[in-house]
Amino acid sequence: MSNQISVGDASPGCQKVDPILVADNVSRQFGGLTAVDVAHVEIPRGKITALIGPNGAGKTTLFNLLTGFDKPTTGTWTFEGKNLAGVASYKVARLGMIRTFQLTKSLSMLSVIENMRLGAQKQAGERFLAALIRPLWRAAENRITEQAEELLKRFKLDAKRDDFAASLSGGQRKLLEMARALMAEPKLVMLDEPMAGVNPALTQSLLDHIKDLKSNGTTVLFVEHDMHMVRHISDWVIVMAEGRIVAEGPPAQVMKDQAVIDAYLGAHADIDLGTVSIKIAKDDN
């Protein structure tokens, strides 16, 4: 089956027409356990790619490796053609590849607006000596604040602007973390379970935000368990199981893939996967 994303047919590790991120032989072992063992994967530029797979499949570990938060046992990868293996996490972020965390990392004792401002790049006032000379950074600060307020409004957090992030609910923190990541205007944003814990009333608007990102040219890679969301917004789906990529393709095609159904319904089915498999069944009806 042909599509505009892969070169030729979709298959695990297939080549993309325009990849933004290309990884080779990336593996990570924890003692005897191989958490990640990816022979080859390419993330298509300007698309929304979902990374799915049962719990413990190695999705978060792969995120950690690609963003420099963990060191791989083997492997190399490039982002926009630049080699990223061994590059410090903060430099990865500066190159325009920003990730969020599965366990939210909102900075609890900073206000919501300060959390947001922290996401901005190129604020001269973040330099040690320049910090003392306000005129050097005041204009940038005003611009950043405006940008932050706009994002907060979009994420329906504007009423919380001056509250400590600690006072937000779990779902609101997820939203804040995503909004904060967007402050950096990333080229590739990697969201680790962005919907987990988010109020269902907000999920639809969150889906719209993610689609907006795409229309603004941002590439999105996200981990998600909610098959409905995956089906609804992703252009491409990559399936991991036991550290490997077992299937890839457009959502409708992947959902029918025997390897995917096996991965979810196989030996690793647990409570979390139960809900997922039910959803797959429902969607197929």
Binding site: S89, Y90, S106, L107, F164, A184
Partner: protein, 326 residues
């Protein structure tokens, strides 16, 4: 028993140079711990670097007052680098271990007999403040009013010490209200989050260590101007007093450490004077005069425990911003 003397002595601590020095060291520690989350248990070493760096520069190398301060600051930066380079990439407890050990090593080194010509060994150093008092702008005489009445020399060291405290306060306030301050506060909360936003966390922690350490070094200089340098002053206990003062006032505040230092010294003086008086009058019979010193620290310790229970954010702290959540 002259109670007005007891209270007068206690009140005089409000503006004493020692209070200024401890306040300065505690502001430095607030930069480390309160704002950046760094566990520095070696603030006494930064103070020792100020004291010895200044005194040795003047006495052994004939440097001027300002040159000696500059040398101390350079040594302070080097010391921060030595502490920070191996530890700031690791978990926060490593800095704690290394700073406490480095402070003890430094104290043993300066008190060793083989360095007697340089550091004075266990007897320390004196006579290094001549130029400081020579540049005293205040003519001979008595200044201020009871209980703060001082000579021109005492006034000069107070004006100098508290001016530095004022400058340090402004500096830290400006830094913490800037985007730089936002980054270090973010690091205190969760350094991985800050890293994921493209900030070089290691560099920020180093800058914070250097800044707070430099304030500790200035504190060391202010501390020795009115007295001799003695290695016995730079024990780990000094570091813990600075911690006490910082937590007392509020760790993530700038004015907190100043007020914390005032309260600390006034209380020490007051408890000593009152206990002394009560023992002399025969009201307290279960203590001897030489037990009074230790007993006041027990009282201060109890006070701090009460603070932790009833006001964990310190006197000035915002309850939400910082508690004892190490």
């Amino acid at each position: 028993m002259d109670w007005s003397l007891v209270f007068g002595n206690a009140a005089a601590e409000l503006i004493s140079p020692t209070t200024a020095a401890y306040a300065l060291a505690a502001i430095g520690l607030a930069v480390h711990f309160g704002y950046t989350g760094l566990l520095n248990f070696g603030q006494a070493a930064f103070m020792a670097i100020g004291a010895y760096g200044f005194a040795v520069s003047v006495l052994n190398f004939g440097l001027s007052f300002w040159q000696a301060i500059a040398v101390s600051m350079i040594l302070s930066v080097l010391f921060a680098l030595i502490l920070g380079i191996p530890t700031l990439r690791l978990r926060s407890d490593y800095l704690a271990i290394v700073t406490i050990a480095a402070a003890e090593i430094l104290r043993y080194v300066v008190s060793t007999t083989s360095l007697k010509d340089l550091t004075g060994g266990s007897s320390g150093l004196s006579g290094f403040a001549t130029e400081f008092y020579a540049i005293n702008p205040f003519p001979t005489g008595n200044y201020l009013f009871w209980p703060f009445d001082v000579t021109e020399k005492e006034l000069w060291v107070r004006v100098f010490g508290w001016s530095i405290v004022a400058l340090a306060t402004i500096l830290v306030l400006l830094m913490m209200r800037s985007p730089w301050g936002r980054v270090v506060k973010g690091i205190r909360e969760d350094e991985d989050a800050v890293r994921s936003l493209g900030k070089n966390v290691y560099a920020y922690k180093m800058q914070s260590l250097i800044l707070g350490g430099a304030l500790g070094t200035l504190a060391g200089i202010v501390f020795v101007l009115p007295r001799a340098v003695q290695p016995g002053n730079y024990v780990t206990g000094l570091t813990f007093f600075i911690w006490t003062i910082m937590l007392l006032g509020g760790a993530a505040t700038v004015f907190g450490p100043i007020v914390g230092s005032m309260i600390f010294w006034v209380l020490l003086s007051l408890t000593e004077g009152v206990l002394q008086g009560l023992v002399n009058m025969g009201v307290i019979t279960f203590l001897s005069t030489d037990q009074i010193g230790p007993v006041r620290f027990i009282l201060i310790g109890l006070g701090l425990m009460a603070l932790v229970v009833f006001r964990p954010q310190g006197i000035f702290g915002n309850k939400k911003e910082l508690q004892f959540n190490v």
